[in-house]
């Protein structure tokens, strides 16, 4: 049995599906264990430190994997004939080294979802598939005023993925950059806008991790979240909700994909079995099964079946609409930050908390956080990544 140690598919239902539908086909047998980041990292570090252990395959988000670049074996010798993997993803999987530290496993994206009741409050002339941030603000405002309570929702809870929104959606849409123009006037506007939106945002958002629940309970009518965290709403009441692309700003319709990868730690007890499992994970059938289990999309060219669940049917088109929009502005996951990824995220969360929740002056906060960001980039010596202009040496914060 290979121990598959994962942060993904952690919700118990997904875990169950992973075990029963995705991994049951693997010959050697898989023990799929999904845990929270804390135990996940602790166990992984312990095995790496001890030099031996039970973990055969690690499955996690790009950011988590980046920490352990030194401790993963090169996976370039895995025979991937018959599957085509996105090159951009494969490049990310090298974690800034020459070796294939992880193989992309599955991808996802963030979209918007709305209760159909909300549609009648949509500002006049706005196209739901081509919303701007201003439209969104107006929409949220109308809903709040008409219904008496704010109906826009945002996953700003401790487990929420809010930082990705700032890094990959809000800032690039306004400033066309995540890092370099962190404290530019455009960035300032972006935050001002978000603050405006926040006025019409359900204050319980600071507790939300998964937007599907407030959507289902009706506390929230319009929400932004990770597709996997919206899926349940569509699966439970497919006719009540619509999915649509994230809004656009002056610099374009920025979005950030989510990438999860599988890696094999050097301490894996049975290297062969581990690699076999990695290979198994890349197979088209597995990739499709994974989609069904987790609402994460394949990273390969696996053909999607027709009988997708309601969530996939609703969310897929929204993603496509977003990624293929005229003004699409893809933002990549951070590269080369290593174990500073967490602190990088924290810069954005802190900025959010201070400006929006703490009501501190935008300018001052940006200036201060920019210093932190700059020293982080210098510490990591990480060059810029999309949408920032590639740099020599550490990515500069202007």
């Amino acid at each position: 049995q290979v121990l598959f140690w994962s942060t993904q598919a952690a919700p118990v239902e997904e875990t169950q599906k992973m075990r029963e539908q995705v991994l049951s086909g693997f010959e050697g047998g898989v023990d799929f264990q999904a845990s929270e980041t804390g135990p996940f990292l602790t166990r992984l570090s312990a095995e790496i430190q001890a030099g031996s252990g039970q973990i055969g395959v690690v499955g996690a988000l790009h950011g988590d994997l980046a920490t352990y670049a030194d401790s993963f074996v090169d996976l370039s010798d895995i025979d991937l004939s018959g599957v085509t993997v996105s090159d951009a993803f494969l490049e990310l999987g090298k974690l800034g080294t020459d070796e294939q530290k992880y193989l992309p496993w599955m991808q996802a994206n963030y979209v918007m979802a709305a209760n159909k009741q909300a549609l009648e409050y949509l500002p006049e002339g706005a196209d739901i598939n081509a919303l701007t941030y201003d439209d969104l603000i107006a929409w949220a405002k109308t809903m709040a005023e008409e219904t008496g309570s704010p109906k826009f929702g945002f996953p700003a809870g401790p487990q929420g993925l809010k930082h990705r929104f700032f890094q990959g959606f809000l800032l690039p849409s306004y400033a066309g950059s995540t890092v370099t123009r962190f404290r530019s006037a455009e960035a300032e506007t972006a935050w001002e806008k978000f603050k405006e939106l926040w006025q019409y945002t359900n204050p319980a958002s600071t507790n939300y991790a998964f937007m599907q629940e407030p959507l289902l309970s009706g506390d929230v009518w319009v929400a932004f979240d990770h597709i996997a965290r919206l899926a349940d709403a569509f699966n439970q009441r497919p006719d009540d909700f619509v999915a649509f692309p994230a809004p656009s700003g002056p610099a374009g319709r920025a979005f950030m994909p989510v990438l999860a990868g599988v890696a094999v730690p050097t301490s894996a007890p049975d290297m062969e079995a581990s690699k076999a499992l990695v290979k198994y994970m890349m197979q088209p059938e597995t990739q499709v099964a994974t989609l069904l289990a987790t609402n994460f999309y394949p990273v390969t060219d696996a053909p999607l079946p027709a009988d997708l669940p309601a969530s996939a049917r609703a969310l897929g088109p929204a993603i496509t609409a977003m990624t293929t929009a005229d003004d699409a502005l893809p933002a990549l996951l951070p590269v080369g930050l290593g174990d500073l990824g967490g602190q990088f995220n924290q810069v954005y969360t802190d900025t959010f908390e201070r400006i929006v929740l703490g009501n501190q002056p935008v300018r001052d906060v940006l200036d201060q956080q920019a210093d932190t960001l700059r020293s982080l980039m210098e510490q990591a010596k990480a060059p810029c990544w999309l949408p920032d202009v590639p740099s020599e040496g550490p990515c500069p914060v202007e």
Binding site: P203, S217, G342, Q343, E353, R354
Partner: protein
């Protein structure tokens, strides 16, 4: 001499055990707080101290402990007194009172979230009574004090039983002759409680308070469940630095702060509730 060595012999297993399973890993971690990349450095401590959330986390943690612990103490004392007063159905009520003993903080957080949530039971009840027509959002970052109260309620609900059971077993050991003497000498029930029960309960109070306060300084799961990161606490920050920010040095620094206030509180209780030499039963 055997008698002189005996206490040390009795402490030996515990000491050895703690040395291996606590002190050794503890030292390994504690060192992190004052080093950076293997060399001595104050950086983790300064990073922690200058982080904008540190003050708030420390403040909220202390405030929570300062409010929760006294409430729990008062409640546990009344519950324990009630239990000792009961003659019929004592074990049934004691059982009910001690039910929360078996609950994890995780479960407690879930339970109280179900109550305070926007579409939760409290709103349902208020709605049913016609007090509100729109569900009220209790746990919002704007109502930080409501969050605080909810956390206090959840903590009180969850962890009072621990204090109570310690006190009940302590009260069981107080000979009733002292109460009788108190009664004869004019002490009302209330005065007996203050003048006899409490002083004679000092060892148990000491233990219960120390254990409870330490746990209060480590409050975390309930806070996250009810308040997200709106209400930062030390333990939450420790977690954050350890796992989200992956800076184990700063996390260790936070842990040392928790340790520091815990020891301070313990010393305080040991001092305030010490039994004078000779005043033992």
């Amino acid at each position: 001499m055997r008698a002189r060595a005996l206490p040390y012999l009795l402490l030996l297993p515990a000491t050895l055990f703690l040395l291996v399973f606590f002190v050794y890993p503890f030292v390994e971690i504690a060192v992190l707080a004052i080093t950076r990349d293997g060399s001595l450095s104050l950086q983790p401590l300064t990073t922690m101290a200058t982080h904008w959330k540190f003050g708030a986390a420390l403040g909220w943690t202390l405030l929570l402990a300062a409010i929760v612990v006294p409430i729990q103490l008062a409640m546990a004392l009344s519950m324990a007194t009630i239990v000792t007063k009961l003659d019929r159905g004592r074990s049934a009520f004691l059982y009910i009172f001690s039910i929360p003993l078996g609950l994890s903080d995780l479960a407690a957080g879930i339970v109280w979230l179900a109550i305070f949530e926007q579409s939760g039971f409290l709103n349902s009840m208020l709605h049913g009574l016609g007090i509100v027509d729109q569900p009220v959002l209790f746990l919002s970052y704007q109502n930080i004090w409501v969050i605080f109260i909810a956390i206090v309620l959840a903590e009180v609900w969850r962890a009072t039983a621990i204090v109570m059971v310690i006190l009940v077993s302590g009260m069981g050991l107080i000979p009733k002759e002292y109460y009788e003497a108190g009664e004869v000498f004019g002490a009302s029930g209330w005065q007996r409680f203050w003048k006899i029960t409490l002083p004679l309960l000092r060892p148990s109070l000491q233990s219960a308070l120390i254990l409870r306060t330490l746990a209060a300084f480590e409050v975390f799961a309930v806070v996250t469940a009810l308040g997200g990161t709106t209400l930062p606490v030390l333990m939450g920050e420790t977690y954050n630095w350890q796992f989200a920010l992956q800076d184990r040095n700063v996390a260790a620094a936070y842990a040392l702060v928790i340790l520091g206030i815990s020891i301070a509180a313990t010393l305080f209780f040991l001092r305030v509730l010490r039994v004078p030499k000779g005043a033992t039963i």
